[in-house]
């Protein structure tokens, strides 16, 4: 067997070399931010690992689906039909209200809100690093996903896209310690900023004066300020206010509506003013056909 010390530089030299390489990469990435293309390329290259990681779960789901009985499916179908009927009725009313709202806004001379486009995406992996709450989704720039895009689930805002590869994109959750989102209380329009705490079920509101008219149970919706998140989507509910006068500001903790710990299917949103467009799979196929033809 060859011994470690027979040839080549000593162990300490090699340690130093490895540290220098890693340190240089860190400097390039963090200080100069020049690694984005490399990062995008490597994310595309490591995407198979991420798909491999969810494979067992998908196989399991598939097996469960295959094992569902006909009657269970029928019941499910019936339930979904009822639900659809209810939702359709709600949508009729919503359409009417939207039209009325647009008319009223026109009368007031303010801009009419255009509808936003959306696309469903599946979560393929979660970053387990407790210092960064991120998930990876199975749509990338091939589907028109762009950096800074808002991401929702069926209950509320989940986060925003921070980096995009070909078929995957990375979503920073609102609970990440480095993420803050501008909100407004639905009841009285007080503007607040909710910062992630590193806990999936709790955000903290920054710089709230003791006299602020907030109550436990207040609903906070996105304010639309800051330009990333569209206005009016539910985000969180206040669950604890500590008005300890010894502290400079009141401590306010809120619970996000989105179930950040069990996100599975997410909704990508293209706000009306975004330059990017969603590219659906049918379009992709169609464009390929066109290319051939």
């Amino acid at each position: 067997m060859k011994s470690l010390f027979e040839h080549g530089p000593s162990l300490r030299t090699r340690l130093l070399l490895a540290l220098i390489v890693a340190g240089a990469l860190m400097f390039l990435d963090h200080r100069l931010q020049t690694m984005q293309p490399v990062r995008s390329f490597l994310s595309t290259a490591t995407a198979p690992v991420q798909y491999l990681a969810v494979l067992p779960e998908e196989v399991m789901d598939r097996l469960v689906y295959l094992a569902t009985t006909r009657s269970a499916l029928r019941e499910d179908n019936q339930r979904l039909r009822d639900e659809l009927l209810g939702l359709q009725m709600a949508v009729q009313r919503l359409n009417f209200l939207e039209n009325e709202n647009a008319r009223l806004r026109q009368l007031l001379g303010s801009e009419v809100r255009a509808a936003s486009r959306r696309m469903a995406a599946e979560v393929v992996s979660v970053a387990t690093d407790p210092f960064s709450h991120q998930v990876v989704i199975n749509k990338g720039y091939q589907s028109g996903v762009y950096e800074g895009q808002p991401v929702l689930d069926n209950r509320g805002i989940v986060g925003q896209v921070v980096s995009v590869a070909r078929n995957t994109a990375r979503v920073l959750l609102i609970s990440d310690q480095s993420h803050a989102i501008s909100l407004r209380a639905e009841r009285n329009d007080i503007r607040v900023i909710a910062q992630g705490t590193g806990s999936l079920t709790q955000l903290e509101l920054n710089f709230i004066p003791h006299s602020a008219e907030l109550q436990e149970g207040d609903v906070l919706v996105s304010s639309g300020l800051g330009g990333v998140f569209p206005e009016g989507y539910p985000v969180a509910e206040i669950n604890l206010i500590n008005r300890d006068e010894r502290l400079q500001y009141a401590q306010v903790f809120v619970t996000p509506y989105a179930q950040l710990d069990r996100v599975r299917t997410l909704l990508l949103l293209w706000p009306a003013n975004a330059q990017e467009q969603p590219i659906f799979e049918e379009d992709m196929e169609a464009s390929e056909v066109n290319d051939v033809g």
Partner: protein, 160 residues
């Protein structure tokens, strides 16, 4: 082209470690997820140090960085620093009993996680929370089994 014996099984073990690192698991178990990449690397560093060195560790660290979405180089630096004592003392660690190895592995992984935290703290203002250190315990507990499995794996596929 001349390929060293057992290259594919070796690469497969790395791939498995990476997959296990990002595999979704129930949120109750989430904080206890063992540090697979560190464990597998430590085993190979101790078992075949003439073959697995800082180069491998660096590449694995950068891949982890990509998969975790952290700043490039954070995991790479932590893993390289963790690999140094293992490479320096592999002959001694090899001959320890499994219990002694377990303690050393725990200390090394603790060191790695502390470095990752410190770097994240300096670069991205991370805040410390205790559950971040739970994997030190779970990794230490899982080490003897992993050691035995990987030893059998190494002998079975003639990785040397």
């Amino acid at each position: 082209m001349w390929v060293k014996s057992g290259l594919l099984p070796l690469l497969f073990s790395y791939l498995l470690a990476l997959v296990l690192t990002i595999m979704p698991i129930p949120s109750v178990l989430e904080p206890w997820r063992p540090d697979w990449v560190s464990l597998v690397l430590l085993y190979w560093l101790i078992a075949i140090p003439h073959r697995v060195g800082f180069g491998t560790v660096l590449v694995m660290g950068l891949l982890t960085d990509i998969l975790m979405g952290s700043t490039f180089g954070i995991y790479a630096i932590a893993l390289v620093v963790m690999a140094y004592p293992a490479l320096r003392h592999f002959q001694r660690i090899r001959n320890y009993s499994l219990t002694q190895q377990l303690i050393i592995v725990a200390v090394l992984i603790l060191m790695k996680r502390v470095i990752v935290y410190e770097l994240e703290h300096v670069l991205n203002d991370a805040v410390f929370n205790l559950p971040y250190l739970y994997p030190v315990l779970s990794s230490a507990i899982i080490w003897p089994w992993l050691f035995l499995i990987l030893r059998r794996y190494r002998r079975r596929y003639l990785i040397r």
